[in-house]
Symmetry: none
Subunit: 239 residues, 2 copies
């Protein structure tokens, strides 16, 4: 296991700084806090931070500007906090390179979960065994190359996949012979819940099937489980 993750919290609200410091430290992390971008800039070279929790609404220089500066320094993961729950803000933040986003007021526990998720994704935290194995994955003649994020057909020719199609296939391939409900797929792919009449997953599967040359009327690879979801019906092996 990695030593302690070291977190930098940047927020002008003293109460939040203290709360987060206590809470995250109790969870086994080291925490430093800054009240604004200026102070954060001063702290930055003094420690090796694994992740920055950044309030967007800061006095003086905005959190977005500071995030931009951070990005220029290093690719440290950033989790943004903001009072505005507008989707656009989220987009702006994510485009800027934030790794996740949380609207205020937030549940510390949820922030913790996201911090951990981001750290794990960043490959920090002990290089857990859950890291994306960059090895090629073979199933039913096909090859999925996570390293290159591409799919090769049995003849070894690349079949172009869109981002969404790749993600879906990856999720399926990681759980072969297991029925994945639409809910789960929605969760794993988009972090959101499926509405009652949501057909997005069906359509995504349909599109993926076509690229895999799998006939939806009589599928071989991605089987439908009526009332259940979908299963990858194949044995997968990691090269």
């Amino acid at each position: 296991m990695e030593p302690q993750p070291h977190i930098l919290v940047v927020d002008d609200d003293r109460e939040i700084r203290d709360l987060l410091s206590r809470f995250l430290e109790r969870q086994g992390m080291r925490v430093s806090a800054a009240r604004d971008a200026k102070e954060a800039r001063r702290l930055w070279p003094l420690g090796r931070y694994h992740l920055v929790v950044l309030d967007l609404m800061l006095p003086g220089e905005s959190g977005l500007d500071f995030a931009r500066w951070l990005r220029a320094q290093d690719d440290v993961p950033i989790v943004m906090l903001t009072a505005m729950s507008e989707e656009t803000d989220r987009i702006v933040g994510l485009e800027l390179g934030a790794d996740d986003y949380l609207a205020k007021p937030f549940n510390p526990r949820e922030l913790l979960a996201r911090i951990r998720a981001v750290l794990r994704r960043a490959g920090g935290e002990g290089g857990g065994p859950k890291e994306p194995p960059a090895r090629a994955i073979r199933f039913a003649g096909w090859t999925l190359e996570p390293a290159r994020r591409r799919l090769l057909n049995p003849e070894g020719v690349e079949v172009p996949l869109t981002g969404g199609e790749y993600e879906l296939l990856q999720v399926l391939v990681e759980r072969p012979n297991r029925v994945l409900t639409r809910d789960m797929l929605m969760d794993l792919l988009h972090n959101r819940q499926a509405g009652p009449f949501d057909r997005a997953i069906d359509v995504a599967v349909s599109r993926l099937r076509r690229k895999l040359e799998d006939d939806g009327r009589n599928p071989t690879l991605i089987k439908t489980v009526r009332g259940g979801g979908y299963v990858l019906a194949a044995t997968v092996e990691r090269a």
Copy 2:
């Protein structure tokens, strides 16, 4: 065959603990319950649990942390219960190694189904080696391939089965020469009870028989036990 699975339920809601205890015990499982992580930790060494049902939202130490601890102890399967809003937690949970999850409020029957699925996937309990690779199953010349979710006739040609037909056949093949009542089949296939005039199973068997070229008037493979149910009359061997 299998000893009683022993389940540990960790949830702070007394009503849920009681409900699950009663329900799962009625399904032939042994159940222990804990109200929080602390109590669960105390119970852990006292029993050999085959599976843990874990609420993510616990007072004191979070379910996520407890799951992490559990993982460090043992690779016991975990099924998580989550509130709808904890989307991130669900993701983190799965990444952490939970084997499945269910959003609250949940249907006990559905939980039961998932528990069974996870136990089955965990490959016979008792801490045997992991996941016996789903081998092909042969009976009376026919071959059922769980890995590909398909059926081959004695000539080796695939006979397309619908999802329901496949499930039914799988259930039968896993219990050869054993009479399965309609109730049992209904339970195993749909997690629900058969109504008094429920003919769904009969019709399903009829449809499956046709694909297996088994004459309903004089069946060879799937025999009818009047007043009882159905039996797969064949010796099965796993390749």
